[in-house]
Amino acid sequence: MSPGAIELVLFAFVLLTALATAAFRDVLAAIIVFAAYSLGMAIYYAVLLAPDVAMTEAAIGAGVTTLLLLLTIAKTVRPGRDEIFESIHWSGLLVVGAFTTVILVTVTSFPEIGASDAPIVSNPEVSQYYIEEAYHDTGVENAVTAVLAGYRGFDTFGEAVVVFAAGVATMVVLHTEVFTRD
C-alpha cells in the first residue's frame, strides 16, 4: 500500500516543472509550465490522501490562476524574446542556496512522513478528537468540512472576509481613476 514508487516519480516531476518555471525567461512559457506544475502538485496531494485539497488545487490551479496570469500579460506586454532561458543570477542563487540548506538541515529533525506517532496525527485532543467526534458533533461525515465550518468556523469566517476584501481591493486598485475621471 505504500506509495513509494509513485512518490519518487512525482518528486522528480514536480521538481523538474518548478525548475523549468524558474528557468524560462518567456513569461507565457513560464505560465504554461506552471500549469503543468499545478497538475503534478494536485497528484501529490491526492497521493498524500487529501482529496479536498487536490480538488481545490484542480479548480484553482488549472482554471483560475492560469487565466488570471494570462489576462495580466494580455493587458501588458511580454518581455523581448531575445533569449528563451534566464541567465543565472549568482548572488541571488547564493542567498537562496543558503536559505534552502538551512531548511534542509531542519528537515532531518521532522518526524517521518506517515509515522503514526507524529504529533500532528496522534494528538488526542485535536486530530484524533476531530476524527472520532466529528460525525457525532456536527452530523457530517467529511471531517474536513466539519472542521472547516464547524470547529474552526470563526477562522473560516475570517478567511472569507479576507477573500472578500481582496476582491474589493482589486476593484479599487483598478478602478480608482474611474470615479474621479468625470
Binding site: F11, A30, Y45
Partner: protein
Amino acid sequence: MTPLVDVLTSRYAYVLFALLLGIGLYMIVSSQNLVKKVIGLNLFQTALFLFFIASAYLAGGQAPIVHHGGKEATYVSPLPQVIVLTAIVVGIAVTAVALALLVRIYAEYGTLEEDVLREVRSDD
C-alpha cells in the same frame, strides 16, 4: 552517509518542500519580470501547502471521510488540510491583488521589467 540517506528517503515530501521553497524564493529574488515574481510567489505558497499536507499524512490511513464515525480505520489528520484549503483560496486572492497592481504599474510606467522600472522611477 547512509543514515542521512535513510533520513531523507523517509522524508521525500519535506525535501521537496525545501527545494521548492528555494526555487520560489529564487524566482521572487532574481526574476527581472514582475509577473514571474508573482509566479514565484505562487510556487513558494504551494511548497508550504505541500509541507502541511505531508505532515498530516498517516501511512496506511484513509482520507478523512469518516463514515458514521467509525473507529475501525485510521485516518489522516483533517486539520492541516483545512488550513491549506482556506490558504489556497486566500492565495488566489493575494495573487489577484498582486496582478491588479501589476496592471496598474504597467499603466503608470509602461513596463514590467524591474531594471527598466527602476530607471523610469529614478528619472521622475
